[in-house]
């Protein structure tokens, strides 16, 4: 491979080197956490040195500097623990037995470094929050501060979460193949965490998943990438300038990213092309197909609901007991049923989920939508209000409240007045007047 010069100001290009270099160090036998720390220091050094002295081979440069740091760290470790004990007069962390691995020059670096590192970071021994944090740091190359900001926790908390995760992996043999399904789930978690502050986690998840598609032929990896792209394409239309949620049926479709949609469709088709009689498309491919059908409609009226319903049939068929194992799929299918077979049939579908999802806002929100589809605005308003009451996200809560008031106001005048009077009576009786938050 011909090395392209890396501009140190190009953070993306610099971070793209991280998995390769880190994988090289870990494969050589370095401890995962020590190697990761050393590489972070090497990256800082690169930002300082490269503008004046650009390296010929950036990855090799990083590996060399990181290795030097590892050697330094091992030399000074014993001394440091002694010093800390003397200064603080408290026991320091127990001196770890870091095997001084001899540096073998020219250690081979395979092409599947990203996959290897993802398996390390998504070890089933780690909790999902730790898998996510470690993946963003070790594979994504984000700083602890950036990850902390993205998840709204103090930096010290995130630093602790990451170092605990790395301690868990310490001494673990990292050469067995991992579970790709766990890796995909972690990447999807990163995607759905959205973005806050300077870091666009959704964009980061897409970048990492794209890298992963280069390392594995598994169609579900491409399915996940397609799903992310096809949803991400709508992001600009999803919120209005005041930050209010705009539902799919009201979005300005001119603001959808047609290039991202085209790429998503292409990736999805390449995944679906690999299916056989015995190997049906997995859940990410099916969900991507549903997203593609939404993206494909030039207007909400042109949405191909029968096709969407048939993909939902495939989705719920992936589990033996979909109501319990994949209630979200059954709920999504109910919406499609509403548009194909009518609201009454769809509401009956949601009845099956009452025990499993009845306490969640989404179940009430879907029922509200179906009541509205049915023209029963009073029932829709009540269900929207119930959904708002149960929402756990501020933007969604505000959206559901708006939907409730909109449905109520759209009722025929006489009904509206009656409902309003009833509500007023109730408020006066129970003294619960403060509907504001």
């Amino acid at each position: 491979m011909v090395e392209q010069p890396v501009d140190p100001r190009d953070e993306g290009a610099l971070r793209a080197l991280v998995p390769r270099v880190l994988a090289g160090l870990v494969r050589r036998g370095e401890d995962f956490d020590a190697a990761e720390d050393a590489l972070q220091e090497a990256l800082l050094e690169a930002l300082r040195v490269w503008p004046e002295h650009p390296p010929r081979d950036p990855a090799a440069w990083l590996a060399t500097v990181a290795t030097r740091r590892l050697v330094d760290a091992r030399r000074s470790q014993a001394a440091r623990y002694r010093r800390e004990e003397a200064i603080h007069a408290v026991p320091g962390p127990p001196a770890t037995v870091e095997a001084a691995v001899a540096v073998s020059p020219g250690a081979s670096v395979g092409g599947d470094d990203t996959l290897f590192l993802l398996f390390c970071c998504c070890s089933p021994d780690l909790a999902p929050a730790s898998q996510v944090a470690l993946t963003l740091r070790a594979v994504g190359g984000l700083s602890t501060g950036e990850i902390a900001e993205a998840f709204y926790v103090p930096e010290a908390t995130m630093a602790q979460r990451i170092s605990r995760a790395k301690r868990t992996l310490r001494g673990r043999r990292l050469d067995q193949p991992g579970d790709l399904a766990v890796v995909l789930r972690v990447l999807y978690l990163v995607y759905t965490a959205g973005h806050a502050g300077r870091v666009d986690l959704a964009g980061e998840a897409i970048r990492l998943t794209r890298q992963l598609t280069l390392a594995t032929q598994e169609p579900e990896t491409r399915g996940l990438l397609a799903l992310m792209l096809l949803n991400h394409a709508r992001r600009a239309a999803r919120l209005d300038p005041e930050g209010r949620i705009v539902t799919l049926d009201r979005q300005d479709r001119a603001r959808w990213d047609t290039r991202e949609i085209a790429e998503g469709v292409r990736v999805l088709q390449s995944a679906l092309a690999l299916q056989t009689e015995h190997r049906r498309p997995g859940r990410y491919q099916v969900q991507a197909a549903i997203a593609a059908l939404h993206d494909d409609a030039a207007s909400v009226e042109e949405t191909d609901w029968p096709q969407i319903l048939s993909w939902y049939d495939d989705l719920v068929a992936l589990t033996d007991d979909p109501v319990r194992q994949d209630p979200a799929a059954v709920l999504g299918r109910a919406v499609a049923v509403g548009h194909v077979l009518g609201a009454a049939a769809a509401l009956r579908e949601t009845d099956r989920l009452r025990d499993v999802l009845g306490h969640r806002h989404r179940w009430h929100a879907v029922r509200a939508h179906l009541h509205e589809l049915d023209g029963d605005l009073a029932a829709a308003a009540t269900a929207y209000a119930e959904a708002a009451h149960r929402a756990t996200n501020l933007a969604e809560r505000d959206h559901l409240l708006r939907q409730a008031t909109r449905a109520r106001a759209a009722q025929p005048a006489s009904e509206y007045a009656r409902a309003g009077r009833r509500a007023h009576e109730r408020a006066r009786l129970d003294g619960e007047g403060l509907g504001s938050t």
């Binding site: 005041e242 930050g243 308003a381 929207y384 209000a385 708002a388 009451h389 149960r390 929402a391 756990t392 501020l394 809560r397 505000d398 409240l401 708006r402 409730a404 008031t405 909109r406 109520r408 106001a409 409902a419 309003g420 509500a423 007023h424 109730r426 408020a427 006066r428 129970d430 003294g431 619960e432 007047g433 403060l434 509907g435 504001s436 938050t437």
Partner: protein
């Protein structure tokens, strides 16, 4: 500078100055005005350099206590008496004085309700204990 929590409640506190129905029963434009005002409060506090934090809480509540050795925690998920306090959210502000905190709380309480008229909602103002001993 002292920090104060300006607490909003779903219920509890003194007798409401103005009885209003739950928010989902308001006219859509009144809800819109109310939400716009709360966004505005956040902006005002950031602008003035007094903002520390603002959070909203869901109304679901569980009381939990230690169950004793070898026992599961004891929890009650309700229903709770309608008279009990239920915090809805807060602004945490870093201000010059208690007077300034009261001024801000009154401003929050002027938020528009049904018909665009102020809600006169009671705001619970609480001082946060400082972590350092006084210098004097």
């Amino acid at each position: 500078m002292p920090k104060f929590l300006l607490l909003k409640h779903y219920r509890g506190g003194p007798q409401p100055h103005r009885a209003v129905p739950p928010m989902d029963q308001w006219a859509p434009q009144d809800v819109e005005a109310h939400m716009a005002f709360l966004r505005h409060v956040g902006e005002v506090l950031e602008e003035s350099g007094e903002f520390v934090d603002a959070q909203a809480l869901t109304p679901a509540r569980s009381w939990v206590r230690y169950g004793g050795p070898d026992a599961a925690p004891v929890t009650t998920d309700g229903p709770h008496p309608e008279t009990s306090d239920l915090v809805a959210g807060w602004y945490l502000v870093d201000v010059e004085s208690h007077e300034r905190a009261v001024e801000l709380a009154a401003y929050v309480s002027s938020e528009p309700g049904p018909g665009g008229e102020p809600l006169y909602e009671w705001i619970d103002v609480r001082e946060v204990m400082s972590g350092e001993p006084a210098q004097d």
